[in-house]
Symmetry: C2
Subunit: 198 residues, 2 copies
């Protein structure tokens, strides 16, 4: 199965905390994909950022805070604050996915934790390299990688591939070709994997 998320999406973060267990429960491998809502929502769909959308923006902030309470997550970052530039984190993610495939998901969770629980600024490459260093990734190498043509191309290709598969939100899941959008769909994915397609 496939899991898509944007680092700036709280619901993507919530899903990242659970998707590993969901896949394991069903004996599935799960490939993670960092995508960019700024491309899918703003450019391809022609919509405005969610937090700037009347009615829906305030609701989603309320819903995210409610989810955090329900799951006992203490988050420092406000949901209605300015979104950081997610590109350095997404580039680092895709470079790590290629070169450190054994730990890219763990580092992604660490990055998401740093962003949401500690309100650290992942648009700063030094924050990213410090986090990855905890799992044995050379900071200098990752620092150079974030600005490299390779990482740019990996991210661009990943975003294009996500769009070609119809991915438009975060989180998004594709299970045996079947698309599911939103963290609220995780119980249905569990059911889908349990009973087979309906």
């Amino acid at each position: 199965m496939h899991f898509y998320f944007d680092f700036i999406s709280p619901f993507g973060y919530f899903a990242a905390l659970r998707v590993g267990d969901l896949a394991t429960k069903h004996g599935r491998d799960c490939e993670w994909h960092a995508m960019l809502l700024g491309v899918s929502v703003l450019k391809v769909m022609g919509l405005k950022p969610l937090v700037e959308t009347p009615l829906k923006g305030p609701y989603l902030g309320h819903d995210a805070a409610r989810y955090a309470r329900r799951h006992r997550l203490a988050l420092k970052r406000p949901f209605d604050g300015p979104a950081m530039n997610p590109v350095p984190a997404a580039r680092a993610f895709h470079w790590l996915k290629r070169h450190h495939a054994d730990r890219y998901r763990g580092i992604a969770v660490d990055m998401l934790d740093a962003y949401w629980r500690e309100a650290r600024d992942l648009s700063q490459p030094e924050e990213i390299t410090a986090i990855a260093a905890e799992r044995g990734v050379d900071p200098g190498e990752l620092r150079a990688a974030i600005e490299s043509d390779e990482a740019r191309q990996l991210l661009r290709a990943a975003v294009d591939a996500s769009l070609s598969k119809g991915v438009f939100g975060s989180p998004f899941f594709i299970v045996d070709g079947e698309p599911f959008w939103g963290v609220d769909k995780m119980e249905q994915i569990d059911e889908w994997l349990t009973v087979g397609k309906w």
Copy 2:
């Protein structure tokens, strides 16, 4: 609790089929409200119609069809077809709610069934009056009511009230002041009503 829906929303229809049981299970009364996505989504939020939104439109059609299969609903109306004008149905709904409060929800379900299962055109007042006549509402009286100032004002006031409460989608629920958007939230509403707020 309060349930908001638009007649042209398949997910609003799906919720209408279940919300009565959900309220009864928890000993709650449930007031229904017909709203207009054309006002909330298009005018207030400044978005385009969902079915015309790239990526999201096709996904939602797929998701609605999947929901229908899962719940064994045989629907004649396609999800990607042109939406009817929901105003006559919404006006009839609000007039019935005021003048036939004992049966407005039942007639609403009948209207939704006619629209989704039988692909009948509820923009035609005669279709609406024929449906309501089955539950004892005088067709001539309802036919006149649909074009009346009273029904226009009731609908306008209901739409304004829904917006002032932050309602922007269909279905939408407000439970003890708490907003929930989407049919996928019904399990969480069940949990909310069971355990109390979290």
